[in-house]
């Protein structure tokens, strides 16, 4: 029943694991770090990685799945190779900073939050406070952290990534992005409800007030209802003199350095 994971850990990763064994009081408590280990090892945490982590830490794989779906920072197969995380919490979102960054990403990659390019190279999502609120908008791209990341800096950065991948912005604007599906995978078909041979058992309730697959949104994906209409009141009234809070504004006196970390 329990199939063997197709992947194995490298010997360096295993050595790291064994170092931790002496460090931690029990195996289960290594789980957070072991998940980071497999994430780094395989690029993301897929089902095989979860099985390996469960095995290393001596816990049930259902528990590991619970962990991976609880913590939102783990990289999952649905995320793009280049994963843009744009802070959307109040401090960043004030004055339209988040919106501007998202609009720029959309203009370059054709991605709305929650979407990935069909080739799986880029994805975009909104995340909650990244703890650098004095320099909005804050964006994390995988392990890289950026503050005041909008305007030319953001465009240039995306262009750099595009060039490195040998892609162009036009290619992505012409393509239809895919909605990232971070849900737990479906069970094999033979675990379906009676008469549901092709659906896959883990599916959304189709009874009112629920939606059947394909219902409830324009593009036919089952899981979102329509995007609400534009705001009646814009977030901020425009001010004379252009953007507030320009990124080159003087920062804290005994305070922080500006610009990019990491």
């Amino acid at each position: 029943m329990a199939k063997m994971p197709a992947k194995t850990l490298s010997s360096e990763a295993l050595r790291q694991f064994h170092d931790w064994v002496d460090e931690y009081p029990n195996k289960r408590s290594m789980l957070m770090m072991v998940l980071r280990l497999v994430e780094e090892e395989f690029g993301c945490i897929d089902d095989d990685a979860m099985e390996i982590a469960a095995d290393l830490c001596g816990v049930n794989v259902a528990h590991v799945q619970g962990m991976v779906t609880f913590y939102t920072h783990f990289k999952r197969p649905a995320h793009g190779k280049h994963r843009f995380m744009v802070c959307a919490t109040l401090m960043c979102a004030l004055d339209g900073n988040t919106d501007q960054a998202l609009a720029q990403i959309r203009a370059k990659l054709g991605l709305k939050p929650g979407e990935a390019t069909p080739d799986g190279l880029f994805s975009c999502e909104k995340v909650e406070c990244l703890a650098d609120c004095d320099k909005p908008p804050v964006i994390q791209k995988d392990d890289e952290h950026f503050c005041s990341m909008k305007g030319p800096a953001l465009d240039a950065y995306i262009d750099k990534l595009l060039t490195a991948e040998g892609k162009t912005s036009e290619q992505y604007l012409a393509a239809t992005p895919v909605t990232m599906d971070l849900r737990v995978a479906v069970l094999p078909v033979h675990y379906n409800f009676e008469g549901e041979q092709n659906v896959g058992a883990r599916r959304f309730d189709d009874k009112d007030p629920y939606f059947a697959p394909g219902e409830g949104s324009e593009n036919g994906s089952a899981r979102t209802t329509g995007v609400p209409p534009a705001l009646k009141t814009p977030l901020t009234a425009p001010v004379a003199g252009g953007a507030l809070n320009p990124s080159n504004a003087g920062h804290g006196a005994n305070g922080t350095s500006g610009g990019q970390h990491g």
């Binding site: 259902a62 590991v64 849900r183 409800f193 058992a201 007030p209």
Partner: protein, 495 residues
């Protein structure tokens, strides 16, 4: 070990109660028949304290606290019905229902749902939630259990059960906040011998039994207590039957000395033999006969030579009463007969962290030892099988459903010239040519009796239903036989 348990005195709703010091308020209240509503609390699972419905007020505390997680203390004063906690409970009830589909008309749990129960007592009369509900998935958890995510109140009882009692850990909570759902890992299913307990402990209709799904509405059922004959543990059960006296399901009944509130899946599901494949009427040489004819034939066979070559072979599935009745019969009718026992073969126990399913698949081995003095049915059968020479009459008191005939058992049958069979099933045994007389008996659901479990606890039970055949209990059969003997003796004396 048995150190004096420290007790504390406290007041609940003005009543003085004395309870062990390591108890929680909810346990103290329930013990004293004071109801505190609860969803996530279960006496046999760890405390989660997440549903927040069990609010009580403790004198001196600024606001209501959860009764399930608050330890008792000397001099504590608790109220369960004052305005503060009633108000708190009402708001928790409202929160529980906002994302609930309220699909009671098609929910299997309707009628025994704790949401329904408590919302009558604690809910508000109209809904204030007009927004879109959170959509959840539904899935098949395993061969016996299905999951309706939208009905789940995330009390985590089922997860704690698989972690703590079955130890199999198939279930986990996925996602976060109000997106939380219960799920198995893809490709792994909730498939352990105790899986259906999760259905029982689910306070709502989120986990439902595939075997019971859409079978009946609970208010059309009537229930009677019984004892499971599936193994030597003797789980206390409640048998639910429909208006036609058909068993619809079997669920555990709390008995802390035996099964707490659990039972195994096979114990629940193994009742098909009650309604199918029954021996309806007595048989004589393979043909239907009247009770009177069959009894006469049986008596003749048993009385041959005072039973000098008669063997009574009694299974460990029989009640203590049946065994005693057979002893009685043999003493009267065939005093020279010898008595042997047999039973289902014993396999390895299935041990879980919080429950053991015994490998001794005989409900009354201990009773057999008490009544017949046969401690080891397998050894007893082996001794009989190792003999040679024919058995004149074999009085076979069987009553085991789905019995697999072993070579030893077959050897004994083959050596017997005539078999008088007492059994409720018209199974394989009947097809043995040497079964001269077959008398229909009753299953443990149709008669009263006693099983003595492996801990030596004698558990008596009453019939849960009317007999489904013309069968009679062993005691009734023996009584009738003895009456026949008496009549014959009187007739002989008169002649």
């Amino acid at each position: 070990m048995t150190a004096e348990v420290k007790m504390v005195n406290m007041k609940i709703d003005g009543r003085d109660v004395t309870v062990p010091a390591d108890w929680t308020v909810i346990r103290a209240a329930h013990k004293n028949d004071i109801d505190i509503p609860h969803y996530c609390y279960h006496p046999d699972l760890s405390i989660a304290g997440n549903c927040r419905i069990c609010m009580v007020s403790v004198k001196g505390a600024p606001r209501p606290v959860v009764g399930c997680a608050t330890p008792v203390a000397e001099g504590m004063e608790v109220t369960t019905t004052a305005a503060a906690e009633v108000e708190a409970r009402k708001s928790v009830m409202e929160f529980l229902l906002i994302n609930h589909p309220l699909d009671c008309p098609e929910c299997d749990q309707a009628g025994e749902c704790k949401l329904q129960d408590y919302s009558v007592d604690h809910g508000r009369d109209h809904g204030r939630f007009h927004e879109e509900k959170v959509r959840k998935s539904k899935s098949t958890m395993g061969p016996h259990v299905k999951y309706w995510g939208s009905r789940c109140i995330l009390c985590t009882r089922c997860v704690r059960f698989t972690d703590e009692v079955s130890g199999t850990g198939e279930l986990g909570i996925i996602y976060r906040g109000d997106r939380n759902e219960i799920a198995t890992f893809p490709g792994r299913v909730l498939d352990n011998p105790l899986s259906m307990n999760t259905v029982d402990i689910c306070p709502v209709g989120a986990l439902v039994s595939s075997d019971f799904l859409f079978q009946s509405r609970v208010w059309n059922l009537h229930s009677n207590p019984s004892i499971c004959p599936g193994c030597s543990l003797g789980c206390n059960t409640r048998v639910d039957l429909d208006a036609k006296d058909q068993i619809k399901r079997i669920v555990p009944r709390r008995n802390d000395a035996v099964n707490k509130e659990w039972m195994c899946d096979s114990g629940r599901l193994n009742f098909g033999y009650v309604h199918a494949g029954r021996l309806q009427k007595p048989k004589l040489g393979g043909a239907d006969a009247t009770w009177k004819e069959a009894r006469r034939a049986a008596l003749e066979l048993l009385a041959l030579n005072g039973g000098a070559n008669t063997v009574a072979l009694i299974s460990a599935w029989n009640t203590s009463e049946a065994m005693a009745a057979i002893l009685d019969l043999v003493a009267v009718e065939s005093p020279a007969a010898r008595i042997f026992g047999y039973g289902n073969p014993v396999v390895a126990d299935q041990v879980f962290p919080g429950f053991t399913i015994y490998g001794d698949k005989n409900p009354n081995r201990a009773g057999m030892e008490q009544v017949l003095g046969i401690a080891d049915p397998a050894a007893s059968l082996k001794a009989l099988a190792s003999e040679t020479g024919s058995i004149g009459t074999l009085l076979l008191v069987h009553n085991i459903p789905d019995f697999v005939i072993t070579p030893e058992f077959k050897a004994v049958l083959d050596r017997s010239e005539n078999v008088v069979l007492l059994d409720f099933a018209s199974g394989e045994l009947l097809r043995y040519g040497n079964v001269a007389v077959a008398l229909p008996t009753l299953t443990s659901f149709e008669k009263a009796g006693t099983f003595v479990n492996n801990a030596g606890l004698a558990q008596s039970f009453e019939p849960v239903m009317e007999p489904a055949t013309y069968g009679l209990s062993e005691a009734e059969i023996v009584e009738a036989l003895k009456r026949d003997v008496g009549a014959a003796t009187r007739a002989g004396a008169a002649a």
